[in-house]
Amino acid sequence: MNQGQEEFNKLRKLLALKRHEQPPPGYFDRLPNQILSRIKAGEVTESFWQRLLPKIVLRPAFAYGFGMAACVLLAFGASYVLQNEPSPNGGGSLMTAQPVESPAMASAPTFLMASNSASTTASSSTNPVNPQPLFEPNIQVLPANFPGQNK
């Protein structure tokens, strides 16, 4: 037998020494209980997300499923918003702007008001776009007063 083979055999015998290394007596009787206690304690303290995350990480199918579900929800939400958007011929609430009356207008006599209401409320006609008013709605129109007419 050559020297290399002899050394190898001695090494194997030396490594066999490690099989004799044993943990303290009773260690393997206690270990299962310690593990099960930690498992039970972990189940109590772990939140829903803490339990879900490892499952997602360990199983890529879950991650893909989760991503797909998020995409479907997003697409559904987008289509829902688009369906509820007002139609261009003035059916929606966003397009039916009402003229706002200022306090000054409210207090003025009706016959003194220059009203553009006829033009502003005419948006229900074939033209969906409200035409710009010719005058500011707040302008007060006073009756003309000529010196020669006073009697």
Partner: protein, 205 residues
């Protein structure tokens, strides 16, 4: 010489006991006694592997517990393609290698005592008596030198020596655990032994 742990365990299960797959199915349904039985079947093997990788009882204790806890939480993903103990081994080995990477150069040996059969092991007696008549002292000295030498190996080399030369697993099973081919296992084993022979040359002449 006492039989390796793997041999002892292979003889242990009787025919009446449920097999691993049955226990796994029951454990998946929340049957804790079933998982307790699985732990009892493989705790010694898993602990021994982790201990021989770390040479530290406290670390081996923590890592063994973590491996079984992680395995329990991942039971749903166990499909039964490999045996349960190969699967648990993989979890324990990966966890241990990650731990050793973080530990790096901070090696602290915390060695277990040797059982009483070591003093009567004829192979060990022969090795010791060549060196010194003080058997007890030299056995613990040999133990310390051997563990220090093991810690000088890289993790993959240490693992193949542990699984093959200490635990007695066949090359094919080691390849499955390490997720590599049998040729890689053989070459790693060859280089690991060469390194150990060089480090321990004073004790092998």
């Amino acid at each position: 010489m006492s039989a390796p742990i793997s041999e002892k365990l292979e003889q242990a299960p009787a025919n009446t006991e449920p097999d691993d797959l049955t226990l796994v199915k029951r454990a998946k349904q929340g049957d804790m006694p079933a998982y307790d039985e699985l732990i009892r079947r493989y705790q010694q093997r898993v602990y021994a592997t982790v201990y021989q990788m770390t040479s530290n009882h406290e670390d081996a204790n923590d890592l063994t517990q973590e491996a079984f806890i992680k395995a329990y939480r991942a039971l749903a993903s166990f499909k039964g393609d490999a045996s349960f103990y190969t699967w648990v081994y993989r979890i324990a080995v990966n966890r241990t290698i990650n731990f050793l990477k973080t530990r790096k150069n901070k090696i602290h040996l915390s060695l277990n005592d040797m059982d009483f059969t070591a003093e009567n092991d004829p192979d060990l007696v022969a090795l010791v008596s060549d060196k010194t008549p003080r058997r007890d002292a030299s056995l613990s000295e040999l133990q310390e030198k051997l563990n220090a030498a093991m810690q000088q190996l890289s993790e993959p080399h240490r693992l193949v020596v542990t699984l093959h030369d200490i635990q007695g697993l066949p090359h094919e099973e080691i390849a499955e655990i390490m997720d590599c081919n049998v040729g890689t296992v053989r070459s790693r084993l060859f280089y690991a032994r060469q390194q150990l022979q060089a480090i321990l040359s004073d004790y092998l002449k």
